[in-house]
């Protein structure tokens, strides 16, 4: 499973200027629905599922990273989007720090293995300081895509 295969390119948001978790999640889901082939009618349901998941425990996992996610029947394969925030989003993270890199995942209900492999993939690359630093500095969606592809090809 490669980052560039499940991240919907057109949905990537750089320079996210939103401060709260709910605003950030809403903007990311809207972009993912718009560009990821998810029916607009499912948008609110996905947003509320992700926010409900956050209430049970933040997906802000530290080091400025959050991985909000949900399972949802509106998708038949795992799709994701990326957002970069230079100013930071308040996310109630495990380490209390604001979040600058967000990977939002929506996966089909009956594919827990895919969800685990996507988390594995994202985490493996985020352990690489080069990947994190370059991602935070990315000023365009194309720059993010280039980074995802370089990470996929172990070129970082």
């Amino acid at each position: 499973m490669k980052l560039s295969e499940f991240v919907v390119r057109e949905s990537i948001l750089t320079d996210l200027k939103l401060e709260t978790k709910e605003q950030a999640i809403r903007a990311m889901v809207e972009s993912l629905c718009q560009h990821g082939g998810i029916p607009g009618a499912d948008q609110e349901s996905i947003i509320s599922a992700i926010l409900k998941r956050e209430e049970l425990g933040s997906t802000g996992i530290g080091r400025g990273v959050a991985v909000p996610h949900t399972k949802h029947p509106s998708v038949d394969r795992l799709v994701a989007t990326v957002a970069i925030s230079r100013t930071g989003v308040e996310f109630a993270s495990l380490d209390g720090e604001d979040v600058h890199i967000l990977f939002l995942l929506v996966s089909p209900p009956e594919r827990p293995g895919d969800h685990l492999r996507a988390l594995e993939n994202i985490s493996r690359h985020l352990r690489n300081d080069n990947f994190c630093n370059f991602l935070q500095q990315a000023v365009s969606a194309q720059a993010v895509i280039d980074l995802l592809e370089e990470a996929d090809n172990n070129q970082l």
Partner: protein, 103 residues
């Protein structure tokens, strides 16, 4: 007590959705309450049980066997606490960690 003392325990991931983010958080937060180091082995791979990013790279699905290995002066207590998470299948206050992903 011997600071190099190492204790280990084999566990199996019984969660239907595998060791996803929510149970991983429980492991890391519990492990961070101890001075002992926690290594988690999956086959020939080993990760730091106190690091979220490390732990999530395990992608341990339902049925995966893991070896927990704690080293340090409170290693036995750390191992007991982490082992207990697996024993009760990461249920907290009657809520399964699996529900967190399913809902």
């Amino acid at each position: 007590m011997n600071e190099k003392q190492t204790y280990s325990k084999d566990v199996v991931v019984e969660l239907k959705n595998g060791l996803h983010l929510s149970p991983s958080v429980q492991i890391v937060q519990t492990a961070q309450g101890f001075r002992a180091k926690l290594a988690i082995h999956k086959g020939d791979r080993v990760v730091d049980g106190k690091s979220m990013l490390d732990l999530m790279t395990l992608a341990a699905e339902h049925g995966t066997r893991l070896r927990l290995e704690a080293t340090g002066d409170d290693a036995q207590a750390a191992l007991d606490a982490i082992g207990a998470l697996f024993d009760r299948n990461f249920v907290i206050d009657g809520v399964s960690a699996d529900r967190v992903l399913v809902d």
